[in-house]
């Protein structure tokens, strides 16, 4: 309920902006931030993890975020993913002001609009792949047992791992676990998928496999924001953003994104691969 009210107010706020500044962009604008900052206070020391980030992301984009360690990528992703609140600045998602929301409202946003993929998968142990994927559906209203099962199986099918539905995380390889995690991220049909170093714990081949999954999702029209350290991985995205010291230092389109499926064909075949 409070979301709706906010939505209205924000739309009114933006009317002027929309009409005069960037009318053609607004059509498929998914989110934008205005001077987003995040400062961590540890005792006397203040860590400025983000020093003012302005960015606009449109529906259907596949963005790779690069940058040195400690440059604020994860902090930025956490803010986009509504896992954390900014210290100052504005963040509008679907034209809704997210920066001022309460914890309870953010919980709903996380559940309904955002799919998050973590570097170390974060699957619940001793819980089957299927149950892990069902998890976000458990916390949304009105979703019957059958519907839940159906959606989760479909998501597992999308990432190509439906036959492992009954397996526990410790029975799956890293790549398979990450696919389950991606399935969990897409099961609620979020407006965008955030992935913080999703290939960080995987070898080259598995990394490219996972990127193929992301590219497939992108083809289906999903918006994806992905953090990576590896330039090779970033080349699969169609927009590259670089961070340094809590600021964006470059933001450019990738003129010729690589195809992960094509790259996989070039790699030597492995015998044990099923």
């Amino acid at each position: 309920m409070p979301n709706k009210r906010r939505l209205k107010i924000c739309r009114q706020d933006r009317v002027w902006d929309v009409d005069s500044d960037m009318p053609e962009l607004d059509k498929n604008r998914l989110l934008y931030t205005e001077h987003l900052t995040k400062t961590y206070t540890m005792g006397d020391i203040q860590v400025h993890a983000l020093r003012g980030v302005d960015v606009t992301i449109n529906t259907g984009e596949f963005i790779a975020i690069m940058g040195a360690s400690g440059s604020g990528k994860t902090t930025f992703m956490n803010l986009l993913g509504c896992l954390d609140k900014p210290s100052s600045g504005a963040y509008f998602l679907d034209e809704i002001a997210v920066h001022g929301m309460s914890d309870a409202e953010l919980t709903v946003i996380r559940n309904q609009k955002i799919g998050y993929v973590f570097q170390s998968f974060y699957l619940l142990p001793r819980t089957t792949a299927l149950e892990n994927v069902e998890l976000p559906l458990l916390y949304c209203k009105k979703c019957s047992l059958h519907e839940r099962h159906e959606k989760a199986m479909h998501a597992l099918g999308t990432v190509g791992i439906a036959e492992r539905a009954k397996h526990f995380p410790n029975q799956l390889s890293g790549g398979q676990q990450q696919r389950v995690a991606i399935a969990r991220a897409i099961v609620n049909d979020p407006v965008f998928i955030l992935a913080d170093e999703p290939t960080g714990n995987l070898d080259t081949r598995t990394s490219i496999e996972v990127m193929a999954v992301f590219q497939a999702l992108h083809k289906q029209g999903k918006t994806i924001v992905l953090v990576t350290h590896e330039n090779d991985i970033a080349q699969y995205a169609d927009r590259l953003i670089s961070f340094r010291d809590g600021r964006i230092i470059s933001d450019k389109a990738n003129p010729a994104p690589r195809s992960a499926t094509e790259d996989l064909k070039l790699l030597p075949k492995l015998d044990e691969e099923d």
Binding site: N78, G81, L83, D84, D103, A104, T107, V108, R110, N111, Q112, Y116, F118, Y122, L123, L124, P125, R126, T127, E131, L135, P136, L138, Y139, C140, K141, R184, N188
Partner: protein, 405 residues
């Protein structure tokens, strides 16, 4: 998210840790079982006391001297002291309206002998009316009569225990036993009564005419005597009780009403009940403490479990679990443990109560309210001791929880 869904999540995570769940439950199981058993034992004791008070006879009044209040050691002479005498019994029977029977009761100890066998036990000297008052029967032989009392006949009745120990397989009826070397003819064996609440064997007794007991066993000396009276009806009891008190005071000059104890069956029942109530409360509170310890066990395990599952909580929150969802999940886990433990505890308690009942030959009673009490209590314990760990879980910071190693 619906409560039902959270319940499913909570039960699932309990199932994932079966051993730990069971061990946590054990505290509650034992606590509840102890409460149920203790209350059952208390109730059983109460029932037995009631039965025994009733088995004393109908509308019985016991008259005795209240030694703690008396100056009897100074006033030894007949008529002036407060020691009861046979004339008092006659007066009670003849002068007070509503009295059906009255019998003196002398008690003494004696060595019994039959051929080579010896047995030492208490001997009671009573009037023939005693059997009517106490509703006594024989299992073999017959009771002695008023004429035996009048004549001071050397006859007696023996309890089953005495019969077994002196005679073994021999039929005691019409045999002669020696009580303190004085020969008595056994007229009959009393119907067995078993143990009383205090564990005393009621069949370990010898009953003889009071005249004989007084003359032969007590040697004509003044002895303390009790009077057993039976009132015509329940309604008459109170009046009779007061009349007896007045009569005794007028017959024994210079005594106060405190010096005589005239107790009715109801008085005895009340005393016995208050004793068994105290016993029940004592037992139940010991059991209650063990239930409390069980509850603290739940809190302990839940706290460990929250710490252990910080990452899980973070993951759940990241995909859309709210504070309320996490809070409820952990509370429901605690409540589920305590309720399930409560149910198992009740079953165990029933079993234990039955075993105790069988061993002690008591009719042990598990009352419905003891079941309601312990289930309610264990549920409250679940909520109470589950709350703190659950709110700790719910108030975790998402990012910190996800980063927790």
């Amino acid at each position: 998210m619906s409560i039902l869904g959270i319940i499913r999540i909570a039960l699932k995570s309990l199932m994932r840790n079966k051993t730990r769940t069971f061990l946590t439950m054990l505290g509650i199981i034992i606590g509840v079982a102890a409460v149920i058993t203790m209350l059952a034992i208390g109730q059983g004791a109460k029932k037995i006391v009631e039965e025994q008070v009733n088995s004393m006879g109908t509308n019985v009044i016991v008259v005795s001297v209240n030694f703690s209040q008396s100056g009897s050691n100074v006033r030894q002479a007949a008529g002036s002291g407060n020691l009861l005498e046979v004339e008092d019994v006659d007066a009670i029977r003849d002068q007070i309206d509503g009295v059906l029977y009255a019998s003196p009761v002398y008690t003494t100890f004696g060595q019994l002998k039959y051929e080579g066998n010896n047995w030492r036990t208490g001997v009671m000297g009573v009037d023939a009316d005693y059997f009517y008052i106490r509703d006594m029967k024989t299992s073999s032989g017959e009771l002695f009569h008023a004429s035996d009392v009048e004549n001071g006949a050397k006859v007696c009745l023996i309890g089953k225990t005495v019969a077994d120990n002196l005679f073994g397989d021999v039929d005691p009826v019409d045999k002669i036993i020696r009580i303190r070397n004085i020969p008595f003819t056994v007229k009959g064996v009393l119907a067995a009564k078993g143990q009383n609440v205090m564990g005393n064997d009621q069949d370990d007794t010898v009953i003889a005419p009071y005249t004989t007991t007084y003359a032969r066993l007590l040697g004509h000396r003044w002895r303390n005597m009790m009077v057993l009276v039976s009132a015509e009806s329940k309604d008459a009891i109170q009046l009779v009780q007061q009349d007896i008190l007045d009569l005794l005071q007028s017959r024994h000059r210079g005594t106060t009403s405190e010096e005589f104890a005239v107790r009715t069956q109801t008085d005895l029942a009340d005393t016995a009940n208050s004793v068994s109530n105290t016993l029940t409360i004592l037992l139940a509170s010991i059991a209650g403490i063990s239930l409390l310890v069980g509850g603290i066990g739940i809190m302990n395990i839940m706290l460990v479990s929250v710490t252990e599952r910080i990452k899980e909580i973070g993951i759940r929150m990241a995909v859309g679990a709210g504070k309320r969802d996490v809070l409820l999940q952990f509370i429901i886990e605690a409540v589920a443990i305590s309720i399930l433990g409560g149910i198992l505890g009740i079953l165990l308690g029933f079993g234990a109560a039955k075993i105790v009942g069988d061993i002690m030959k008591w009719s042990i009673a598990v009352t419905p309210w003891s079941v309601i009490l312990s289930v309610g209590f264990s549920m409250a314990i679940g909520i109470f001791f589950g709350w703190y760990p659950a709110s700790k879980a719910a108030n975790l910071n998402l990012i910190d929880a996800l980063r927790y190693e």
